[in-house]
């Protein structure tokens, strides 16, 4: 059983890395990029029977810092 966690900076929190990427794309000639937000993808290989709530607990305790980051969990 697998879970995929997406961690992103919350809306309204400045993302300096995303901004740097946006500037670089503009400098390379890619036009029309109005915003870039950079996040993380964390893949977990879990025992059968693991629930989304288990993964959410992991996000709350370690995988994301909810002061600045939001997360989504996909189970598969």
């Amino acid at each position: 059983m697998k879970a995929r966690v997406h961690v992103m900076l919350k809306n309204g929190v400045l993302d300096p890395q995303g901004e740097a990427v946006r500037h670089a794309l503009g400098a390379m000639g890619f036009e029309g990029v109005n915003g870039v937000r950079q996040g993380k993808v964390i893949e977990l290989d879990l025992n059968e029977g693991a629930t989304k709530a288990d993964v959410e607990a992991m996000c709350e305790k370690l995988l994301a810092n909810t002061v600045i980051e939001s997360y989504t969990v996909e189970m598969s």
Binding site: V13, L14, P16, Q17, L62, N65, V67, I68
Partner: protein, 222 residues
């Protein structure tokens, strides 16, 4: 007077912090991150700078969940003073001892230079030897020193006098120029600048010494 300095894999300012505590007369125990308790009778805890756990996941995130940090949290809640410097600030913020988080510097670069700070709080045991509004010069060396908290939290920190230091010139994008914050009880201080790198003339300045002297003096007289 007994100080404990926590050592994580990747800490690199632990010995500097120990030297600073010794300079003001403390006995120092170095405490490994896998230990589950602090030595008996520890009066003050230092969480040092460096790159604990290689800054994996987020700066300070792994260290904040190490066995020794559970003990540090227990002691902090009992009122034992805790000083977190640089990565130590990131660690204690991640551990929930202080509000907010330290993000990547707004300018993206690692900053290593002296920073001018103003002393905003002169009530805490760490800061009471400074004059209010005093300008002090303390080195900074960090990549993730951009202090973030929501407006409500920032208003609360300012309203309660819990901003300990501000940058005169904001070098990293920190909200409201915040360089150091205190917990509600005033016994936990986190700061990005390195006071332990300004305790001897050979460092180029001694503006950090008063912080250690005050903490120890207050504890001795308590």
């Amino acid at each position: 007077m007994h100080a404990a300095v926590i050592v994580f894999p990747g800490s690199n300012c632990d010995r500097d912090l120990a030297v600073a505590f010794k300079a003001v007369g403390a006995k120092v125990s170095m405490v490994w991150h896998k230990d589950t308790s602090l030595p008996e009778g520890v009066d003050i805890v230092g969480v040092p700078g460096g790159f604990s756990y290689g800054d994996y996941l987020r700066s300070g995130a792994m260290a904040a969940n190490s066995p020794i940090m559970r003990a540090v949290k227990r002691e902090a809640e009992r009122g034992v003073p805790v000083l977190g410097v640089c990565n130590g600030f990131q660690v204690i913020a991640e551990a929930g001892l202080l509000p907010g988080a330290l993000m990547r510097n707004a300018g993206q670069t690692f900053i290593c230079r002296d920073a001018e700070l103003t002393v905003e709080n002169t009530q805490s045991l760490f800061t009471r030897g400074y004059d209010e509004g005093a300008a002090i010069r303390i080195p900074v060396a960090h990549h993730d020193g951009n202090y973030f908290a929501d407006d409500e939290t920032l208003d609360m920190l300012e309203g309660e006098g819990r901003v300990a230091f501000r940058y005169v010139e904001n070098c990293n994008g920190s909200q409201r120029d915040i360089a150091g914050v205190l917990n509600a009880e005033g016994n936990v201080l986190g700061m990005m600048p390195h006071p332990e790198r300004a305790v001897e003339q050979a460092h180029g300045g001694t503006d950090g010494l008063a912080l250690f002297e005050n903490a120890i003096k207050t504890l001795v007289s308590a």
